[in-house]
Each structure stands twice: as C-alpha cells, then as structure tokens.
C-alpha cells in the first residue's frame, strides 16, 4: 500500500467514525435549504423573475461544499501538527504531496456525496428545484471549487494552532463570504455595488458556475468564466498554502 493510499484510508476511517462531524457536514447545508426553501417557497425574485430556489439551492450547495473543504483540511492539519503526527509523517519518506493528495481525494468524495444528497432533496416538490439538462457542467465547477477551498483550508490549518482558532478563522472567512457571494440571499436583489464586490470572492464564481449549470440560466461561456475565476484563486491559494505549510509548531 502506498503512503497516499494509507493516508487516504486512515483519513476515511477517521472521518466516518466521527459521527458528529459526519452529520453536520451533510445536515448543515440541508438545514439551510429547508429554512430558506420554506421561507421563500413558491416565490420569485422580483429583479429577475426567477424562483428563489434557483438562487438558494446552488448558493447553499456551493457554500456547503466549500465550507466542508476548508474545515475538513483545516482541522486535520492543525490537529496533526499539534499532536506531532506531522512530525511522525515527516520522519517517514512520505512526501508532502501524498499528505495533501490524500486530503484532496477525501474532500472531493465528501463534496460529491454532499452534492448528490443535496440536489436529491432540493428537487423534491416542496422545494421545487428543476434540474436543467446542462447539470453535468456543474461537476468541473465543483471539483475546481473544492480545490480552491481546500487550499484555503491548508492556509487556515497551517496558521491556526488550536481548534478554536481554526473555527474562528474559517467562520470569519466563510460566513461573510457566503452572504456577499449570494449563497443565502439572491445577489440580483442586492445593491449593484455589492454585486460588484462579490467578484473578488472565490465563492461567487462557484455559485455562478453551479447555478448556471443546474438551472440552465445562462450560457456555457458563463460556466467557463466561473471555472477560470476559480482556477485563478486556486493557483493563488495553492501557492500560499505550499509556502505556509509547516511540519511542526516548534521548530
């Protein structure tokens, strides 16, 4: 078994055995879907004439997947470093890339399961999302989005030294970003300056890409633009992540 496979397996086992995190990773976005879905049930957004669910479902899904990626790797890196597990790994010939790749594969798997469950609930008549034929275009957006936010999570997990710090920093980044990127509230109903600001946030591009793909509103160019935007953030976050990665808090 390769180091990558062993770390992925260890990560998978640790993940599925942590029932609380497991539950909240999947239940939290669902909770938002239910709350917003019921509040705005059957209503349309005035500015665009689109049903609310077309905004909320892709928005909450993007946020849920991004949030899981940031928190997942952030907590694990902080914990592994604090418990000296990274030092143990450092004393083996395992390359850093195997550690990060194992977390990446896990994050992708979690994101895919999250998305499938989420969409399955969102298309129920109560919420009324109708899936467009262009939905497969959401997959590359999803994969790129997870990559970008995983890199962000590596930065958070390298910077933070305690679980409290991981939660504080990650929430501080993700909650305002969710609102400003239109995850919980349609951007079309927000002031235009706020819509302009949203383009500096990576989550905006994920929202845009997933929303375009699953509602069929907009063109394939929109998905490409979204992918390009996320790719840009991925490169920047990835470079910072590799710079900030530390094996130990002490050395």
């Amino acid at each position: 078994m390769s180091a990558f496979a062993a770390l992925s397996e260890a990560g998978y086992r640790a993940y599925v055995r942590d029932k609380t995190t497991l539950f909240f990773t999947f239940a939290f976005p669902m909770l938002f879907l239910v709350v917003f879905g019921l509040i705005f049930s059957g209503k349309d957004v005035e500015q665009s004439g689109q049903p609310y669910i077309n905004y909320i479902a892709p928005g909450v899904l993007s946020w849920g997947v991004a949030n899981a990626a940031v928190f997942g790797v952030g907590f694990v890196l902080m914990q592994w470093r604090r418990d000296d597990l990274l030092r143990l790994i450092r004393m083996t010939p395992t390359p850093v890339s195997a550690i990060l790749a194992s977390r990446y594969v896990l994050a992708l798997a979690i994101g895919v399961v999250q998305s499938v469950l989420f969409v399955a609930v969102a298309v129920l008549p109560v919420f009324g999302l109708s899936l467009s034929g262009s939905w497969p275009a959401a997959l590359p957006v999803l994969v790129l989005g997870i990559t970008a936010f995983l890199a962000l999570g590596v930065i958070v997990g390298s910077y933070a030294r305690t679980p409290e710090a991981v939660a504080a920093v990650a929430n501080c980044l993700m909650i305002p970003m969710a609102f400003l990127s239109g995850s919980f509230f349609p951007l079309d109903a927000m002031p235009s300056w706020m819509q302009s600001i949203s383009w500096v946030l990576p989550l905006r591009y994920v929202n845009e890409g997933i929303s375009t793909a699953i509602t069929g509103e907009g063109s394939s160019t929109d998905v490409l633009v979204a992918c390009g935007g996320i790719l840009g953030f991925t490169v920047v976050f990835g470079a910072i992540a590799l710079k900030t990665f530390r094996w130990s808090d002490r050395a």
């Binding site: 260890a10 597990l85 395992t94 130990s248």
Partner: protein, 307 residues
C-alpha cells in the same frame, strides 16, 4: 548515494562541536560525541539539559546552529528521504492517527515507510499489544500508548533507533518486557540512542552513557567506568545493636560513621580491612555493603547531590 557512505565502519552518529541556541539560552553547547554501530547509547541529564534538542538534531527535526552532524554517513538536515527509512523515532508525544485501532495505526505507519505489511503483526506482538490490536488508539492506556509509539518506531526495521524516555509510563512488568525487546534489538545489531530518567535502567542496558548538564556533556563512558571514576566511597551498613558509633569511628580507614534509624553507616575508601575489623567487633551477620551506583555519580555530576 556513493557505496562508501554505507560502509559499516562509519559510525552510527558522529557529532562535532554541535551548538544550538534559543535566544540567550545555549540549549546545546559544543557537543562532540560518536555512537558506534550496534552500540546502546544512553543520554542522561536533568529536564531542560538539552537532551531532546540534541536528539532532535540527530533525527533531522532541527537544524544545528553550528557544528557537524553525521548520521549513518548522511547529514540529517535538510530532510533526507534516503536516510529516514533507516531511522526509527519514538517521541514522548506518542502521536497517533485519530479514531484508528492500534493495528490500523501501525499498518498506516508501515505503509508510510513502505515497509513489509507482515511486520505489523510481528511488531505488535513484540511490544505485547496483540491482544489490544483492535482497540482504538484513543482508548489505550498510557503504557499501551507508549508501547504502540515504540512499535511505530520499529515497524520498518530501522538500523538506528531513537527512543525518548521509552519506559516512562510503563509499569515494572511492562518495563522489563521492553528491556527484553531492546536487548533483542541490540543483539540483532541495531544501534539505539535513548534518553531516560531511570538510572538503574541505563546501568543495566547501556554500553555507554553520556551525562548532559546545561547543554554540555559532562561525562561520557561505560556505566562501570563512570561509577569507578566517580564516587569511590563504599558504605558499610551494620545493625546499631551490635556496633556503637564510637567503636565504628575508631576503626582504621573509616572516614565517617553515622546512625540511621537502627543501623550504623560507615563510609570508607578501602572496604576490605574495615570489613575485617567489623567482623571482629560485631560479626558479619546482617552487614550490608553499598558501593556507588550510577545514580550517585549522576547526582554528583548534575549538582543535585545532597551530601
């Protein structure tokens, strides 16, 4: 790698003028020493003496400020993936992959070293954890955690093993069992560098010990040589009922005599004649002789001796 760097005549560890400071503190101050292949080397010293820093520099976890470090013919810093599989490291932190069982943890570590998966069961049994292999690492007792951490240092069959207070949390039985494991490793030709606070253990196991105080090596020799070179005072303990303090002090060669509870303790540099004199005065029944142990030497060298 040139074949010559693997020549068995290169020492396991070679330090020359190694220094490391943190701010104004000289954690390690000009340390030079050599550990031969197959040697069981003990590093003793009070907490804060710089033992851990020194060992971490050998392991390649820290960079020395100055001086040369060679481990199995390689420089351990920066991280050298050629060297790492030949080293086994146990730290006091006992790091584990959370929510895995003991066996799963060890299997993961073995895979990280690209070691033979069959070594997992063998290593578990060598540290006596076979029965607890299915227990989650979070639920293991302190001693079991420590044994698992040691197993993780041994699973890839390393040539040079660093152990940081490996017997600290063990009960006497587990400690003796671990002594057997360590002796087995030594007889298999492995080199062991370890730190400990158990001086009896260092005396029983180590070929040589270094005593470290304030970042410097103050003594380095075999336990027997250290004891011989250190305190040469022998103490004779005689039941007080059979020998008075005055008589004891009158014996030729007795430097000092004191009463402790129900015994008289005689200190002498030459135990033979004194013992003969005691035999005449009180007989030898119940008389004990106490020669210096490594602990006496240690306390003397580290400046915490009471006398």
């Amino acid at each position: 790698m040139t074949p010559t760097s693997r020549a068995p005549d290169t020492p396991a560890v070679e330090l020359d003028g190694v220094r490391k400071r943190y701010g104004d503190t000289h954690a390690v101050d000009d340390v030079s020493l050599t550990v031969a292949r197959g040697e069981f080397f003990g590093l003793l010293g009070p907490n804060g003496a710089g033992k851990t820093t020194l060992v971490e520099m050998m392991e390649g976890l820290r960079e020395a400020d100055s001086g040369a470090i060679s481990v199995l013919g390689h420089r351990p810093w920066p991280r050298d993936v050629e060297l790492l599989p030949r080293l086994g490291v146990q730290t006091q932190a006992s790091p584990f992959f959370v929510r895995l069982t003991a066996r799963e943890h060890l299997r993961t570590v073995a895979a990280l070293y690209a070691a033979d998966p069959a070594a997992v069961e063998r290593t578990l049994s060598s540290v006596g954890l076979t029965e607890h292999a299915e227990v989650r690492v979070d639920d293991l007792s302190g001693g079991q955690r420590q044994r698992l951490a040691i197993a993780a240092a041994l699973v890839h069959d390393p040539e040079l093993i660093f152990l940081d207070e490996p017997t600290a949390a063990l009960d006497p039985q587990a400690r003796r069992a671990l002594w057997d494991v360590l002796r087995g490793l030594k007889s298999a030709g492995r080199t062991i560098v370890y730190t400990t606070h158990h001086l009896d253990e260092a005396e029983a196991l180590c070929d040589r010990v270094a005593i470290m105080v304030h970042g410097r090596i103050t003594a380095l020799d075999t336990p027997n040589q250290l004891i011989a070179a250190g305190s040469t005072v022998t103490r004779l303990v005689v039941p007080a009922a059979r020998l008075s303090l005055e008589d004891a002090r009158a014996i030729d060669g007795v430097q000092n005599a004191t009463t402790e509870d129900d015994v008289v303790v005689l200190e002498t540099l030459d135990a033979g004649p004194v013992l003969a004199a005691v035999e005449k005065l009180a007989g030898l029944q119940g008389v004990q002789t106490r020669t210096a142990s490594l602990e006496d030497v240690y306390l003397e060298l580290t400046g915490t001796s009471q006398s």
